[in-house]
Amino acid sequence: MKITGVNTGNTAYVLGCAALVMLMTPGLAFFYGGMVRAKSVLNMMMMSVVALGVVTLVWVSVGFSLAFGNSNGGLIGDFSFVGLRDTTAVVGAGIPLQVFAMFQLMFAVITGALLSGAVADRARFWPWALFVGVWTLVVYVPLAHWIFAVDGFASAHGGWMANALRALDFAGGTAVEINSGASALALALVLGKRRNWPREPMRPHNLPNVLLGTGLLWFGWFGFNAGSALAAGAVAGNAFVTTMTASAAAVISWLALEHRLDGRPTSLGGASAAVAGLVAITPACGFVDTVGALVIGLLAGVVCQLAIRLKYRLGYDDSLDVVAIHGVGGLLGMLLIGLFATVAVNPAGADGLLYGGGLGQLGRQAVAVLATVAFAFTVTYVLAWLISRTIGFRVDPEVESEGIDEAEHAETAYDFTPLTSSIGRTT
């Protein structure tokens, strides 16, 4: 049967962007993997790998349908797209539904993978895989429905946040960033601190890998943000400009503050800064102009950096700072939309306080932020607690001190036997 209404340009664009966003998850594996100690790098990276596996299966079976199917009261979709077998449906600006579903899948995958940073070195592998699958269904899918399912796009009726509240979130400040931050906090609290944290030094073992991961994330983020226009056009172009501007500004402000506070601009600081800037601009990239992006980026580099210090004050072991970078960065970006949004860049947006729009949009943004934090934290806490109390979530203390890679995967990332040594070589 002949399919009508497909716009080949937009379809090609979104297909390419979906592949770019897919690359962010392996990128995240390097970003996180380099930050842990050598004895747990494989487990860290495997948490991202298995997210690609599990979340994809959840998504193509029922996840996408529940997120973008016709809404039940603005809270959750229906089963109309189960199995993603409809090859004829076309949505938005001439994009096949299946292409849209794959673009959205990559968001679901990386959001789940992001949480792994909170439980470095100590989460058992299969309980993690179970967690990330169920979490996608009960936390990510409802949030994606609330904010991403726009009325009349994939289905007649979408979620309450986008349509009834009319909060603005271009590429995932709520469902991806704040969600992962709030959920990571819940997960870190349920699993508890690593042994001897923070007394024992847990230095990153491979900063070049962190920087490689940062590069892949940054590259993929153009698909994430500019791709969220879901059409190759001016709004996508603006999102590209604001994305680059904000991350660049965050790098500069982070390094300057770090130099002042700690004495040196560090590579881990630069890497964290780029991601913090990208996170903060994510919800705003399609609604603000270059000036807004610059301010959002500069603030992200300062606020996210200071937020990292909270975990030492409050004593939660969010090992790789998902809360400070994704949670706080997303929150910052969502709220600043209320100040810097302007319809000059996107008629589908709104005017913020600084563009004569009053306080209304800021209020709507705040409601979306609070609802996301409350929902994500609560449901994630209950889910992680259930897994913890039934099949167990955390490795034994001996495993933690000897290294989770050996115990969970029977592998070690690096052969530390010197190449020229004749002692200890058995093969």
């Binding site: 923070p198 030094p201 230095r203 990153p204 770090e258 506070l261 700690d262 004495g263 040196r264 560090t266 881990l268 600081g269 964290s272 950096q305 990292i308 210090r309 030492y312 700072d321």
Partner: protein, 112 residues
Amino acid sequence: MILVTAIVKPFALGDVKDALERLGVLGMTVSEVQGYGRQKGHTEVYRGAEYTVDFVPKVRVEVVVADEVAGKVVDVVVEAARTGKIGDGKVWTTRVEQIVRVRTGERGADAL
């Protein structure tokens, strides 16, 4: 016979080796070691968290020489390893009772 032991900065090894060769010292044993003296370790900061690295990498050079050249050997090693900055290392000497060349069974000064 005297065992001269030098703990030096890793990058000084090349200069120390060249200096010993110029003096006619025919062999040496080198190992990578870690430790600290008066300079202590150093501090690294990761996302605001401070870690103190107590032990600093050094190279240990060991040569056994005849009594009459030991003083000269110590002098050239010290000169080659010195940068004038803290952490340059130490050189000390130890009297050696016996030395045997494994291949030939030669002993004492003949085995040097």
